[in-house]
Symmetry: C2
Subunit: 342 residues, 2 copies
């Protein structure tokens, strides 16, 4: 075990005091070049590595930020974390990562751990941003934080998101414009995702504005990838829809798979649109309708915003970024095939 050397040893080797070593590290300009060199040489010789924890204990700031997302298994969150990490790297900040698995209990626990680590600030995607104890806690402790993807009702918290209701509205409208008259939304449980609820509202509004009757909803639990059964009544029989508006890419992917298993081609027999636009719109096929969120950029912006809050140079506010609507040529009205095909 190569026991780490300390400032004290470096100081000894270089024949200076630890104060000077500290200066060489933090403000080399205040030290004569010759001394700097001598100290640096000692550092190299001893393989010195500053112990950040010593510094953290002493200083007010830790130069670390906490990140909480529901899961990294969802490319949307993963990509945003990539954006955060990227920006943090440029700022020399350390990222402490946690995930909640959409569980409010774990959200609170994770944030608590992060606070014990004395992070300078937090970036969070909560299951539900309204009436959330995590936010109360953060407010009470007066810790800078910005919500990512959440669109909270209250205006005294910082957030970065797209307009969830609006993006669902726009996508639904686009699909209606393509000739769809029978649509349903596939969404996660509202308790696990306030985005789901907001998007469903936008979906309903678009239908209502088009005079298309009640909004149908297929609600599925987080983690469900098998939508064959849940979607059965939506894809077959007299009430079959011609298009599915999916709350997320992951759901869209699962829905596409379910459509195929029901013998429907996508697009063609059924159109599928996914909000997020990472996989469905961005990666897999630009031919399907999707409302694209600039996920990675949102992560970067979240960190930039957080930095402002930490410095006290910015105030909490909601930044709502424009989403980009992608309506590929494959979107079209229903053409159910009479016989299922593989």
């Amino acid at each position: 075990m190569t026991s780490k050397s300390t400032m004290r040893e470096v100081a000894g080797k270089a024949g200076v005091s630890i104060a000077t070593v500290s200066r060489v590290i933090n403000s080399p300009d205040e030290v004569p070049t010759e001394t700097v060199e001598r100290v640096r040489a000692a550092m190299r010789y001893l393989n010195y590595r500053p112990n950040i924890n010593g510094r953290r204990l002493k200083m007010a700031q830790t130069r670390s930020v906490g990140v909480l997302v529901p899961t990294m298994a969802n490319p949307v969150f993963a990509t945003s974390v990539q954006g955060i990490e990227q920006a943090a790297h440029e700022d020399g900040l350390t990222v402490l990562l946690t995930s909640s698995n959409y569980d409010p209990q774990r959200e609170l626990g994770a944030v608590s751990t992060l606070l014990n680590n004395r992070v300078d600030g937090l970036i969070l995607t909560l299951a539900n941003a309204d009436d959330n104890p995590v936010i109360d806690l953060l407010k009470a402790e007066n810790i800078p934080f910005v919500l990512l993807f959440n669109q909270p009702a209250r205006t005294d918290v910082a957030s970065i998101s797209v307009d969830n209701a609006r993006s669902a509205y726009d996508m639904t409208q686009a699909m209606i414009a393509q000739g769809h008259t029978s649509l349903a939304m596939v969404a996660g449980r509202f308790e696990s995702s306030d985005r789901s609820k907001q998007r469903f509202d936008g979906f309903g509004q678009a239908l209502s504005d088009a005079g298309l009757g009640a909004a149908r909803l297929c609600q599925v639990g987080f983690g469900e990838t098998e939508l064959f059964t849940p979607l059965k009544s939506f894809l077959t029989g007299p009430d079959a829809v011609t298009g599915l508006v999916c709350s997320t890419d992951m759901l869209a992917i699962a829905a596409i798979s379910a459509c195929r298993d029901h013998g429907l081609s996508v697009p063609g027999d059924v159109s599928v649109g996914g909000i997020d636009g990472i996989a469905v719109g961005g990666l897999i096929s630009p031919k399907l309708c999707s409302a694209i969120q600039p996920t990675q950029e949102m992560g970067q912006q979240a960190l930039a915003f957080l930095r402002g809050l930490i410095r006290g140079q910015a105030n909490p506010q909601s930044l709502i970024l424009p989403h980009q609507l992608s309506t590929g040529e494959s979107i079209g009205p229903a053409r159910h095939s009479s016989s299922p095909r593989l």
Copy 2:
């Protein structure tokens, strides 16, 4: 700013010494119930939050692990990080996350930062695990680490991966068995990913074993999503292939898109197989050939392995997990359409 309260204040409030407060935190059983209660009450009253950095400074272990991946924008790595985070959470470990963007320079810098944080161990996915200064550094400092996805040549480092060459071999063989005689591999630059090279070797071996001549390669830089031009000579003209073996899912997705843009249907005119199996095999369509890696489980196992190394209860070794071959019914020989179609 709610200034955080310290052990000292809690001790004062509870009328005990800080030593007792520490005991209440770390070994409550050694303290009478009545005292424990009094101290806990004081903690609640003062909203006490242990400062982990104080503990880290004092203790040998920091109960934190560093993670380095090329990018979280690749679902394969993101999913593995999810597995790591999951397992870390269960162990009460904090995860420090960094990404290298496939840049060896940044790999070294990131690891250095992680070491300054005195992480107990590291989990890394390196661009190239052979002859990598990062590994030398870690070996020299005697820091526990496990490589994830990398299959290093040297046997004195811990690693968890699937057999890259073998999975490419198997997938290629499966496609050959479906009637393909003309295949090419799409892979990233070998400098950016040793997996690419290993997979290409497996691809070449399979072709050679089948007596199918030289292995053709379309090598693309990291981040390229537009494969229309790079794949042109592979998809059109006299040397057009009937199938593409892709080194990664992300490349497979880009390749599928390029095929479509060249007027080829996938699968049908061209088959595409992607190693990884997250998106192509798992999410998008189980109909395409893919060699599936249990990505999230690999992350969990990596952490478990790392824990063993940290405790000194395990020795570095290579764990090569079985990959799962998924050959959907859509795989088939070439049937080029004479006229491009949208």
